[in-house]
């Protein structure tokens, strides 16, 4: 295969594909993450409605509250692309503002999730209470851990920019973090619909309050 030179970061990288290997690796990683979250969502669906003791989903879910969390995470995807766009144009100050905003929105989402978990625990739902608790906390906990890793990466980017180590030419690194962040967002899009909004068919206990 013809060898091509790819501009990746501050130096030109030689690749046989003509594509930056970092970006290919990130897409392969995200592709494998589909299998991880697919397994967790499938496990939740498999045990859905099979809990023999409460609390059940309709006892603890607060849809308006989770909707706000969803809006927050969705909005953070917008600030993430604006951050990348700013760095690609060489606007380092805007890049920092948008990246910090994205991290702040991520922290807000995680704060909301911690509050939600604490509320569920107060209502008697813990990891070992029933099948719903085990599968729900495992799935959303893994997602929350991913968001936390994303926040750390965003803060690292801001730190690097203040050290002058993140010029316009290194926008590919920001794009990688952005891809990860958007992936976390699309996983939440699925979780919000499948876990929170679609009612449990086997229980027949759907609230439309």
């Amino acid at each position: 295969m013809e060898e091509a030179r790819v501009l990746s970061g501050e130096h030109e990288e030689h690749t046989s594909t003509g594509l930056p290997t970092t970006k290919i690796a990130m897409w392969i990683f995200l592709s494998s993450e589909c299998l991880l979250f697919g397994a967790l969502i499938s496990t939740y669906l498999l045990y859905r409605g099979r809990s023999t003791v409460g609390p059940y989903p309709h006892d603890v879910f607060d849809i308006p509250y989770t909707s706000v969390s969803s809006f927050v995470l969705l909005f953070s995807s917008l600030t993430m692309v604006l951050s990348l766009s700013a760095l690609q144009r060489g606007e380092i100050r805007r890049f920092r503002i948008w990246t910090l905003t994205t991290a702040l929105l991520g922290v807000t989402f995680i704060g909301g999730q911690i509050y939600e978990f604490a509320t569920f625990a107060k209502e008697g739902l813990k990891l070992n209470t029933n099948l719903f608790g085990s599968t729900f906390f495992t799935l959303t906990g893994f997602h929350g851990a991913h968001v936390t890793v994303g926040i750390l990466m965003l803060l690292t980017l801001v730190g690097l920019s203040f050290l002058g180590k993140l010029p316009k030419e290194k926008a590919l690194g920001v794009e990688m973090v952005g891809l990860y962040w958007h992936f976390v967002d699309i996983v939440w899009i699925i979780i919000f619909t499948v876990i929170y909004l679609i009612p449990d068919p086997s229980s027949g206990q759907v609230t439309f309050s």
């Binding site: 091509a4 594909t17 589909c34 299998l35 766009s85 899009i189």
Partner: protein, 125 residues
């Protein structure tokens, strides 16, 4: 006065492949497909659409008359939101198609494996 011939412009140098054809696409084609990301206005428009769809999802959840269609409506809106984020925010629509193919492979594999598992255990029945 002599009439001046309009200056003939040189045709652009031929590009190996104008459209990216996946991993292995020559460098120039890659540049063509990777440098045209949307601008901030387009991103805001997409985010507004995503926000509206999310609002519609929550709204539909509370409409009792749509209870029979609820699952289909919610899944439909979820797919649209998923596609918008992947195509626009993750730039799959604008980048080399090879990236999208890598992601689609993992997604299709996951969907196939887990749908088979769920069907085996009679989750949808």
């Amino acid at each position: 006065m002599m009439r001046q011939e309009p200056e003939k412009t040189k045709p652009p140098a031929p590009v190996a492949e104008e459209e990216g054809s996946g991993v292995g696409t020559p460098l120039r084609a890659r540049e063509h497909t990777e440098t045209h990301h949307p601008g901030p206005k387009q991103y805001v428009t997409i985010a507004a659409i995503l926000g509206l769809i999310t609002a519609a999802e929550v709204g539909v959840y509370y409409v009792e008359s749509l209870r029979d269609l609820l699952v289909f409506l919610l899944l439909g809106m979820m797919v649209v939101k998923f596609a918008l984020v992947v195509l626009w925010f993750m730039h799959v629509r604008f980048d080399n198609p090879g990236y999208g193919r890598i992601f689609a492979t993992g997604l299709a594999l996951a969907a196939t494996v887990y749908v088979i598992v769920l069907l085996t255990f009679g989750v949808f029945s």
